[in-house]
Subunit: 219 residues, 2 copies
Amino acid sequence: MATESMSLLGLEKTSLRQQALAALRRAITTGEIAPGTHLVETELSETLQISRGTLREAMRQLQQEGLISAGPRGRLSVRHLDAKEICDIFAVRAALESLAARELCALEDRAQVIKELRRALEEMDRASKDGLEERIEADLNFHRTLCGLTGNETLLHSWGSLEGNIRMSIMFAGFERAAQNMSVKRHGEIVDAIETGDAAKASEAITEHMDGAAKVLVG
Amino acid sequence: MATESMSLLGLEKTSLRQQALAALRRAITTGEIAPGTHLVETELSETLQISRGTLREAMRQLQQEGLISAGPRGRLSVRHLDAKEICDIFAVRAALESLAARELCALEDRAQVIKELRRALEEMDRASKDGLEERIEADLNFHRTLCGLTGNETLLHSWGSLEGNIRMSIMFAGFERAAQNMSVKRHGEIVDAIETGDAAKASEAITEHMDGAAKVLVG
DNA sequence: AACATGGCAACTGTCAACAGTCTTGCTTCC
DNA sequence: GGAAGCAAGACTGTTGACAGTTGCCATGTT
């Protein structure tokens, strides 16, 4: 029933659970489903055309990511972020990315790393002419790349767990406002610092960048 | 069927899923289930006396925590840690706890915080005469408290997601070896630094502590 | 009108069964 | 004797149904 037309091209055959997970994550982080909304399993399973069991598995993952939280009677609802929580999220994010920058600075051969980072920068530059959503994607991609290039899987995993919350923060504050802090210049400084191997400077640049981002988002 | 004798006292009525989650987490982090072991749903569900559906939900959470990883065909197996991964885990841990220390230093009134931390220290001291496992629990409790006292839920959540990996690292390296790095003195220095509000020193103390811990575990 | 009460509807927790796929070992044919 | 094919087994993906609990609403009582 679920093995028909897909995978005609390189389309990885994705399980229904993963599809549901992606769909829900998107719907939540874009605000399509408003914060605080009570997620009723029976409704959602009908909407997504999947069974409750499969849906519940996806919900557990979202819960672990902090996008939805459990109420009294096992009731799950979309997490609501206030200003303080956004600051908290960005503080943790800063700590993680600062670690990433320091680890990259400690590498012997940073040539390849720098190359990848500059590629991500170019992508941001290209996206700066496009819509807000493209810019946000490019920005997140840059930071994800930063963490991924360290080769520290735990770091990348932790950052990934935070990504949903970051997206919610951006959505909560409004995309226009969020875009203020995504200048290619600021990010270039980070790359420059890493290129010269100046760990302190790179760490500082990131911390400041995140501080600024949080301040802009909170208003 | 599951609503019999429990909750006679303050025993929170825990869902089967949560029980299974706790049982599995314990079994994995103590090495009862060896790293690399392929977790067969049908077997486990029979062992734990729960249905596969319920078990699968618990497995998703463990997967998100990084205790089990997915293989080719959706096969789940207990994660195997090598030396590098242990170092990586402790690097992330250091970044998180360092943030915690800095946030605590930034508080106006640290009296209550210090009181709680000293209480955790005392507990460690008391446990130092007990078995290795008690000492490890007391140690983890201290660090968890450190993160919890910041009031930064995201930080605490991230640390919690790492806790399983930390336990696996300790188990992997052997409890005796791990216990070397749990002196009350070292932890006291951290608390002292926080008491004086010296963020740099507190951060430094934690980073060094974690560095030492990783080195002891690996080498 | 305020209040107790009995029953109904809404949800979540849990389970057993079906379907599809990959592996494996055996059989059969050249 | 070896290789292609075939059939059985082992697991995971997914589903629909049943059970228990909570909250609400209508109904009757004082």
